[in-house]
C-alpha cells in the first residue's frame, strides 16, 4: 500500500529553485532514503511534504497524496491536524526541537491532548508506555525531567517516542543520528528498524551518510541540485550506480580496507551550483568528467533497469565503463 506519493514537486524561494520536479513514493513498511549533500534540497523536500516550508517558500506539485488522499489542497488547519498525528517528523538536533522550558512529560502529553483529547493522566500513561517502547528505562523518571537533563541519545529516543504517540503511518526522519556518537547512532537506527517492522511504518529517511542508506533503505533516491538524479532499489543503486554523480559520491567515501594506504580518495571537483529560475540542462555538467555539449540541453530520465532510473543523457554503458 502506498503511503506517500509525490509527483513533480517544485519548491522555490524567490529566484532560487530548491526542488525541481521530484517524484517519489513510499510503501507501508518500507524505507525510502533521500541522500545528497548539503543544499541538494533533501530537507526542503521533507518540509514541503509536511507543509512546514519557511516563509517565502512556494510549493507546487502535480500530485501530493498521503494514504490516497490529496494533501496539496489542505489548508493550514487541516494540515496541522495531520502533522504529529498520522504524519510525524523527527529532526537532527533534538535539543532544538524539544522545548527546554517544559518537562518531557508535559511536551508529550500536549501532543495527545491536542490530537486525541486525552486527559492528562491518560496522556502521561501513554507517554510512559512509548518511552519504554523506545528503550528508555525508568520512563516515569524521564517524564519529569527537562530536555537538558538527558544525553543526546536519550533526547533522540524521546523525539522518536513523541513522533509515535499517535500511531503515525508515515515517519519523516531528517538526519536523525547526525548529531550522535557512532555507537549511539547504531542503537537509534536499530530502534527505527524494529519499530518499522512492528508498526508497519513508512519511513522517509533523509541523510548524507551512504553507510546508513545502504543498511536502512529499501529504495534510495540520490538528490543533486534540487533533482533526483538516480533512484532505485538500494542494492541496484549501490552495486550498479549509473549517474556520474552517484558514482562520484560512492568513490569519495573512505571505506576501511578499500583504498590502499597512501592512495588518494576519489573526489568530485568544483562546487554545487545555485539553480535560479531559467536554468537549463544538467545541473551536474560543470563537475562531470563525462559531460558532452548536449548536456546543456534537457536531461532525459533513463531506465538503468526496470526499477532503476537515472537522470542523464549518457547511455548506461558509458557512465559505468569509466574506471
Amino acid at each position: 500500500m502506498t503511503v506517500l506519493e509525490i509527483s513533480d514537486l517544485y519548491v522555490r524561494f524567490g529566484e532560487i529553485l530548491a526542488v525541481r520536479g521530484i517524484s517519489l513514493t513510499i510503501e507501508r513498511g518500507q524505507t525510502h532514503c533521500l541522500v545528497g549533500e548539503s543544499g541538494c534540497g533533501k530537507s526542503v523536500t521533507a518540509l514541503a511534504t509536511m507543509g512546514l516550508l519557511a516563509r517565502g517558500g512556494v510549493r507546487t506539485a502535480t500530485r501530493l497524496q498521503f494514504q490516497g488522499a490529496d494533501i496539496a489542497a489542505l489548508d493550514e488547519t487541516a494540515m496541522s491536524r495531520l502533522r504529529g498525528d498520522k504524519m510525524a517528523m523527527i529532526f537532527q538536533e533534538p535539543m532544538t526541537s524539544l522545548n527546554p522550558a517544559y518537562t518531557v512529560g508535559s511536551q508529550m502529553a500536549e501532543v495527545l491532548r491536542r490530537h486525541r483529547r486525552l486527559s492528562r493522566r491518560a496522556a502521561l500513561g501513554r507517554a510512559a508506555e512509548l518511552l519504554a517502547r523506545v528503550g528508555i528505562t525508568a520512563p516515569g523518571l524521564r517524564l519529569g525531567q527537562f530536555p537538558h537533563q538527558l544525553s543526546g541519545g536519550l533526547r533522540q529516543r524521546v523525539m522518536i517516542a513523541m513522533a509515535l504517540l499517535c500511531d503515525p503511518e508515515l515517519l519523516i526522519a531528517d538526519e536523525p543520528t547526525t548529531a550522535l556518537d557512532v555507537t549511539v547512532q547504531a542503537q537509534i537506527l536499530r530502534l527505527l528498524q524494529e519499530l518499522q517492522r512492528e508498526l508497519g511504518l513508512a519511513l522517509l529517511l533523509i541523510t548524507h551518510d551512504l553507510g546508513i542508506v545502504a543498511r536502512m533503505a529499501h529504495r534510495v533516491s540520490v538528490m543533486y541540485a534540487g533533482e533526483i538524479v538516480e533512484s532505485g532499489p538500494v542494492a541496484d543503486v549501490f552495486l550498479r550506480p549509473t549517474h556520474p554523480y552517484t558514482r562520484g559520491l560512492l568513490d569519495c567515501i573512505p571505506v576501511p580496507g578499500k583504498v590502499a594506504p597512501g592512495a588518494p580518495l576519489g573526489s568530485i571537483p568544483g562546487v554545487v551550483p545555485r539553480i535560479r529560475a531559467g536554468f537549463a540542462g544538467c545541473g551536474f555538467r560543470d563537475r562531470c568528467a563525462q559531460a558532452v555539449t548536449d548536456c546543456a540541453m534537457g536531461t532525459p530520465l533513463q531506465q538503468a533497469s526496470a526499477d532503476h532510473a537515472y537522470l542523464c543523457r549518457l547511455p548506461r554503458e558509458w557512465t559505468r565503463d569509466v574506471a
Binding site: E37, S38, G135, T137, S151, G152, G153, D181, V182, T183, Q185, A186, Q187, L189, R190, Q193, H208, D209, L210, G211, I212, V213, A214, R215, M216, A217, V234, A235, V237, F238, L239, G248, L249, L250, D251, C252, I253, P254, V255, P256, G257, V259, P261, G262, P264, L265, G266, S267, I268, P269, V271
Partner: protein
C-alpha cells in the same frame, strides 16, 4: 627518525560546579595520557564525545595549560616555550571553518596573520608567502581579497590549512577537520592533507569521530576512553585485529556502504560515560560485555606487544 611529539602522563582536570548546594565535582577530561609520535607520522585519535580528545588537542597546541604531566614538542617542553616559538612549531586546523576564520578579514589577512604576529617578516615577503601558500592549497590569487562569507565550506577549510602552514610548522593538529564538510569536499580536503604531509614532511595529530576517515589518513591510531588511551597500534593492525573490547565496539559501529547489511548491535548497553564520575578499576567495565569480577577493582596495566599498547586484562592472555 626523530620524535615530533612526546606526551608523558598528561592530565587535565576541570573543577565543575554542581549547582547551588551540590559538592563541586572534578572532571578528569584527560587522565594520564602518554604517547610519542615520530616525525612524518599521523596519529589518529578516536573516541566518543566527551572522551577528552579535543581537550588533549588543545593542551598539545598550548591553548590550555596541563594540570599535570609534560608535553614535549620537537624535544622542547611546551610550557617553557613562548607563543611565537610554539606557533612556528605547531599549528591547528579546527572543525568548523565557519567559526574559526575572522569574518571581517580578507583571506590574505587571515593567512598572513601568523607571519605578521612573528613580527620579523617584511610586508613584501609576507605577501609572497601568502600567495604561495594559497596556491599550494588550491586557491587562486583571486581568492585573496575575498572574505570567508564569499567562500564555500571546502574553500574555507583550505584557507584554514593555508593559515596553519604559512609558518612552515613541523606539526599540525587537526581537530575534526572534515566533520562539517560534505563527503565530496571531505575527500578533497583529505587528499590535500595527505599531499601536503608528503611534500612538506609534516606530522599530524588527527582527531576524529569518523573511524573510516582515520583509517584512511592515519599511520597509527589511538582509541581514547574517559581520558585515557585504551589502545594504540599501527592503523592496519588496529583495524585488522582490535584488542580492546571498546575498540571492537567502535569498529563494529562503522557503517560501511554494503547494501542490505544489518545495523550492527554494538553491545555497549545504555550506560553513558561521564568524565565527572569515572568508574573504579577499568573505566570501561560498566559497558563491557566481557567484564570479569576483577575488572571493577583493578585498573588494568598497559600491555605492550608488537608495537601495540592495550589496557585490558583480557589482552594479556
Amino acid at each position: 627518525m626523530s620524535i615530533a611529539i612526546e606526551v608523558i602522563g598528561a592530565q587535565k582536570r576541570f573543577r565543575g560546579g554542581a549547582g547551588l548546594f551540590g559538592r563541586a565535582r572534578e572532571v578528569r577530561a584527560v587522565d594520564g595520557v602518554s604517547f610519542s609520535l615520530q616525525t612524518g607520522g599521523v596519529l589518529g585519535i578516536v573516541g566518543e564525545s566527551g572522551c577528552g580528545k579535543s581537550t588533549l588537542a588543545r593542551m598539545i597546541l598550548g591553548l590550555m595549560p596541563a594540570s599535570g604531566g609534560s608535553i614535549l614538542v620537537d624535544g622542547q617542553d611546551l610550557s617553557s616555550m613562548d607563543r611565537r616559538a610554539r606557533a612556528r612549531l605547531i599549528q591547528p586546523v579546527f572543525q568548523d571553518p565557519y567559526s574559526s576564520l575572522n569574518p571581517r578579514q580578507s583571506v590574505e589577512e587571515i593567512v598572513g596573520l601568523p607571519l605578521a604576529a612573528q613580527g620579523d617578516v617584511p610586508t613584501a615577503q609576507r605577501r609572497a608567502r601568502v600567495r604561495e601558500m594559497l596556491a599550494r592549497v588550491g586557491l587562486g590569487p583571486d581568492h585573496a581579497a575575498r572574505q570567508p562569507s564569499q567562500l564555500s565550506g571546502g574553500q574555507r577549510q583550505r584557507v584554514a590549512i593555508a593559515r596553519a602552514l604559512v609558518l612552515r610548522p613541523r606539526i599540525v593538529v587537526c581537530d575534526e577537520p572534515t566533520s562539517a564538510l560534505d563527503v565530496s569536499v571531505q575527500a578533497q580536503i583529505l587528499n590535500l592533507l595527505a599531499e601536503l604531509r608528503a611534500e612538506l614532511g609534516l606530522t599530524y595529530l588527527f582527531i576524529s569521530h569518523n573511524l573510516a576517515v582515520v583509517e584512511h589518513i592515519a599511520t597509527e591510531v589511538a582509541v581514547m576512553y574517559l581520558g585515557r588511551f585504551v589502545e594504540q597500534a599501527p592503523t592496519a593492525d588496529l583495524f585488522r585485529a582490535p584488542a580492546h573490547p571498546y575498540t571492537r565496539a567502535l569498529l563494529a559501529s562503522v557503517l560501511t556502504p554494503e547494501p542490505g547489511a544489518p545495523i550492527p548491535d554494538v553491545g555497549l548497553g545504555d550506560t553513558y560515560p561521564d568524565p565527572a564520575n569515572i568508574p573504579s578499576g577499568c573505566r570501561f567495565h560498566p559497558r563491557c560485555k566481557l567484564a570479569q569480577p576483577g575488572c571493577a577493582l583493578h585498573d588494568p596495566a598497559e600491555i605492550l606487544r608488537d608495537g601495540r599498547r592495550v589496557a585490558c586484562v583480557l589482552a594479556a592472555a
